[in-house]
Symmetry: C2
Subunit: 133 residues, 2 copies
DNA sequence: GATAGGGCTTCCATTTACTGGAAGGTCAAG
DNA sequence: CTTGACCTTCCAGTAAATGGAAGCCCTATC
């Protein structure tokens, strides 16, 4: 199976698949003409990677997860630890964004949004110390 | 005022301030020895930038906001439009993260996290089609 | 006058996870 | 035998800094 089929089957762009080989996440075979040949196991890994990335795992985390995936003697605790760490990071990011959102919503609500130059948004940005609440 | 004082006053690292000059966000004067000299207006801009970045505005958005900040004839509608666009992006990002969070929480809850190899997290990653709910 | 230190300068490399594009080899169809 | 689709590698660029090296500048001290 060539790279285009692998891309369609895994849902990843061919460019990304080449990149994943580059950084050592996968190692497809090569046929005589130099084309990559994807086995079922390669496809499984690509699907795995696409799914893990879509859940926000970093490439480093994906590498670790893939190693555990390959290791029939793994402990599920190792997987769970990585997942929980990532969950904590997601929670932190959500909290940060919600904080931003709250401030920004307050400012946009306060802004008239007309042709006049007065703008609480700019006022806040220029001087965060002067509380515009 | 030299860069170190400007950094302390604005809360931005000196490296970041040099970078902001590099990309044309600020233009501090130079003294005879080549050192950057920061005026009050430079400090105001740096504070503005730090605040805008902390609200998640991109450098491009910061550039636009800074131009509006400088423009005494601006319409607040222009500012509000940028802010609302950004607010929508934040909302989209939050929704995406919450979706990830929900899936990941479900999986980690289902994982025993012990020394055994069986792991619903890996199962899901390997085969998203096989719903593990 | 020499030197030590802290601060300043520029420039280059690295980070994340790709993505775009150029130059060129391979293969099947007509 | 040429066309077009597919494949290859390599180089560059993205966002927003950050780290580090090599080397001025300035002040204080010996």
């Amino acid at each position: 199976m060539n790279i285009k089929q692998a891309a369609q089957a895994s849902g990843l762009p061919a460019k990304t698949i080449r990149y994943y080989e580059d950084i050592g996440l996968i190692a497809p075979l090569r046929s005589a003409n130099g084309y990559r040949q994807f086995r079922d196991s390669d496809l499984h890994k690509l699907t795995f990677l696409g799914r893990a990335r879509s859940l926000g795992f970093s490439i480093g985390e994906c590498r670790d997860l893939l190693a555990l995936y390959e290791d029939r003697d793994r402990a599920s605790a190792d997987v769970k630890r990585i997942a929980r760490q990532h969950l904590d990071q997601i929670d932190a990011k959500i909290a940060e964004l919600q904080q931003m959102r709250a401030t920004l919503a307050r400012l946009t609500d306060a802004c008239a949004g007309d042709e006049r130059p007065d703008c609480p948004i700019l006022q806040d940005l220029a001087c965060a110390g002067t509380d515009t609440r």
